[in-house]
């Protein structure tokens, strides 16, 4: 955070309404920019053939940083989803941690290289492990909130997902239960207008997912996901409400998906060039930058230092992850259960690295998996 030290003078007012001082604003901006830089590097590595799959948070970072900033780190809980890079980083994961997941290294804190990139999680930071069959995590977050209430821990649990996922049955069951018991729970919907190729009008019959909140007797709030401070304020209100025992809130942040769904997706097949160009205007990163510049918080000197710092972090993270070892096959049967179970026997081929043509198959390599 050297950058924050070099700032010349504090602009008045920008964070006032939100109760954030300039240091915090700059730290938030740094997080948005850092998450973006890590994300961009992932795509470069993918194109260069270094990592086989990327799923991105670009266009969602503002909402994620704004919302997460309002939680208590190391105390509250988050059940994230595959676009939650900025959220996970705001809540404690480092650029190295994210890169270790891209490379699926043994030291990857999310899964030890067992899961695809995008399936983040870090027990040290109360970030629950992401799975692929998405929307399930809303119930985990609700259960975490239930335990918080029963145990009296004053924790709040938050989950995030796309508008597409919010149509899954688990979301209905979760909101209903959380509302009945007034659980300390916040539901963030990051609505980017698409579920892979399916546009919002084919996913939902209402313009706002937030309209669903009324059916559970909870507040439903729509917020511009490109407005970091608005996201922060919405989250702060919801979290205070939750912590006070007044129950859950649904926050819908309208965001944009600046990339294809994943590195396996060709979005030009279902999205026009014009639309994609327009979407760039809804990106929180330049908007927040402009705000901070105008407020005099992000001076040229601060910005230059920050850019340099971020580049260094991303390069360090990449090089570190590149250099880390893959997991050993001998670890592959560990942690099926908490203990090793005598009758769960290894396969006849044991744990050897296998001879050279193991895994080759008659058919050669298959196509990369589409979707997430």
């Amino acid at each position: 955070m050297t950058a924050t030290r070099q700032r010349a003078k504090a602009a008045p007012h920008l964070g006032a309404a939100a109760g954030l001082d300039d240091d915090e604003l700059l730290a938030m901006y740094r997080m948005v920019a850092l998450a973006r830089a890590v994300d961009e590097r992932m795509w470069i590595l993918n194109r260069a053939g270094r990592i086989p799959f990327v799923i991105s948070g670009q266009g969602h970072e503002g909402a994620q940083v704004g919302v997460t900033w309002a939680l208590r780190k190391g105390h509250d809980w988050i059940a994230p989803f595959y676009r939650s890079i900025a959220m996970c980083m705001t809540f404690g994961m480092s650029a190295r941690d994210i890169m270790l997941a891209q490379y699926a290294r043994a030291s990857d804190p999310s899964s030890g290289g067992r899961q695809m990139p995008g399936h983040y999680g870090d027990r040290r930071h109360n970030l629950l492990s992401v799975s692929s069959p998405v929307a399930t995590q809303i119930l985990h977050a609700v259960g975490i909130a239930l335990a918080a209430k029963i145990r009296g821990t004053a924790q709040v649990a938050l989950t995030a997902m796309g508008e597409g996922l919010s149509n899954q049955g688990d979301v209905h069951e979760a909101l209903n239960f959380a509302a009945i018991h007034k659980l300390p729970f916040v539901f963030l919907v990051e609505n980017n207008g698409y579920a892979i190729s399916v546009p919002a009008v084919m996913e939902l019959a209402v313009p706002d997912v937030a309209a669903r909140a009324a059916g559970y007797g909870i507040p439903g709030v729509v917020v511009d996901g490109a407005d970091v401070l608005a996201c922060y304020v919405a989250a702060k209100t919801a979290i205070e409400r939750a912590r006070a025992g007044d129950g859950p809130t649904l926050i819908e942040a309208k965001v944009t998906r600046l990339t294809g769904h994943s590195s396996d997706d060709q979005q030009t097949k279902y999205r026009t060039e014009e639309e994609m160009a327009l979407e760039k205007g809804r990106d929180a990163l330049p908007r927040f930058r402009d705000q901070l510049r105008a407020a005099g918080i992000l001076t040229p000197a601060v910005e230059a230092a920050l850019t340099e710092e971020i580049a260094a972090i991303v390069t360090d993270a990449t090089e570190f992850a590149e250099g880390e070892p893959d997991p050993e096959p001998s670890t592959a049967m560990r942690w099926v259960y908490a203990e090793d179970w005598p009758s769960e026997t290894p396969p006849p081929w044991g744990f050897g690295e296998g001879d050279d043509d193991a895994g080759s198959g008659s058919e050669g390599g298959g196509p990369a998996a589409g979707g997430d």
């Binding site: 059940a79 119930l139 918080a148 239960f177 908490a338």
Partner: protein, 327 residues
């Protein structure tokens, strides 16, 4: 030693664990005031209150999914699924989430969760109140599956399940709730997961069974004893992890093996047992590993004539033993 019905043993065990460890909670449909449709949780709401005995909405996926979250954040939930037949809406949460959380997080997060469900037929429950669902779940690495057959085992195994750090599916045959009684000591004993019991020693045929079928197997064994057939009965108790040692040991001794289960035969749990025995005891086999199991129709029919036709019972097992013994 005090005598208990099967369901009394279960109810008292839950209460005991709740007294012993305040992180244990119970949730499910009608588990509160009503005490569960079979009364397995009767009295718990009065004793522990609505914070620890939670009547949920009618949403099985939520029951399991929220239990997973609660388990992650320091509780040990006991989730009741009203009938095993209604576990299917929670399939994704059990199979994709509970079973894989520890492995996918490289041991960062565990899910100490017990899911109880009454299973089994013979009670006029028809297609949707009679199912055996253990085959689905015992196939999934990361889950443990327990099916007790006596009040003693029910208590000891339920204790082990609740105290276990991984998700356990605990299936109780509903026909046994009130009809099976047995001695249950007042001590804090446990029956460890993953250990079968030889409930009757014998020399000529091994019968492998669990749940209600473990009783029927004993009865069949008694019947054929008069005919001079000596049957060893293995009650598996835990289906996953399977106690291969006991199973294979018994078959190596007797040379013949009959696997009995109530579920549909094709691809049922007994298929794995039969395949394992057929492979690992091959040199000792004096006859084919055979199976007596439920017919391959989509559920136990309601009408009593059809239900009797469906249900595996001591007579049908007896016939299977005779045939195998004569091989």
């Amino acid at each position: 030693m005090p005598t208990r019905t099967f369901i009394e043993a279960i109810r008292e065990t839950i209460a005991g664990e709740m007294r012993r460890d305040e992180s244990v909670i119970v949730l499910g449909e009608d588990v509160g005031k009503k005490g569960g449709v079979f009364l397995a949780t009767d009295g718990l709401w009065a004793e522990f209150g609505s914070d620890r005995v939670i009547d949920t909405p009618l949403t099985e996926s939520m029951i399991v999914g929220a239990s997973i979250g609660a388990a992650v954040n320091g509780l040990r939930p006991i989730a009741e699924i009203q009938f095993a037949d209604f576990i299917h809406p929670a399939f994704n949460q059990i199979v994709s989430e509970a079973a894989r959380m520890r492995y996918r997080s490289n041991n960062a997060v565990g899910v100490p969760l017990t899911i109880r469900a009454p299973y089994g037929g013979g009670v006029h429950g028809a297609l949707y109140h009679s199912q055996s669902v253990e085959a689905f779940f015992s196939h999934v690495p990361g889950l443990k599956v327990v099916v007790p057959s006596t009040p003693y085992d029910a208590r000891g195994l339920l204790r082990s399940s609740i105290r276990d750090d991984d998700p356990v599916l605990f299936f109780e045959h509903k026909k046994m709730y009130r009809s099976v009684r047995g001695d249950v000591p007042d001590t804090d004993y446990v029956v460890p997961l993953g250990r079968a019991a030889i409930t009757r020693p014998g020399t000529q045929v091994t019968v492998i069974a669990y749940g209600l079928m473990a009783h029927y197997a004993l009865e069949a064994a008694e019947r054929v004893e008069e005919e001079g057939i000596s049957v060893e009965v293995v009650d598996l108790r835990t289906l996953r992890p399977l106690d291969k040692e006991t199973v294979i040991g018994s078959v190596r001794k007797t040379g013949k093996c009959l696997v009995v289960y109530e579920d549909n035969r094709f691809g049922g749990y007994g298929a794995e047992v039969a395949a394992t025995v057929a492979e690992e005891a091959f040199d000792y086999l004096d006859g084919p590993v055979t199976r007596i199991a439920g017919p391959d129709v989509p559920g136990v029919p309601y009408n009593h004539v059809l239900e009797d036709w469906f249900m595996v019972d001591p007579t049908k097992i007896t016939a299977g033993i005779r045939k195998l013994a004569a091989y």
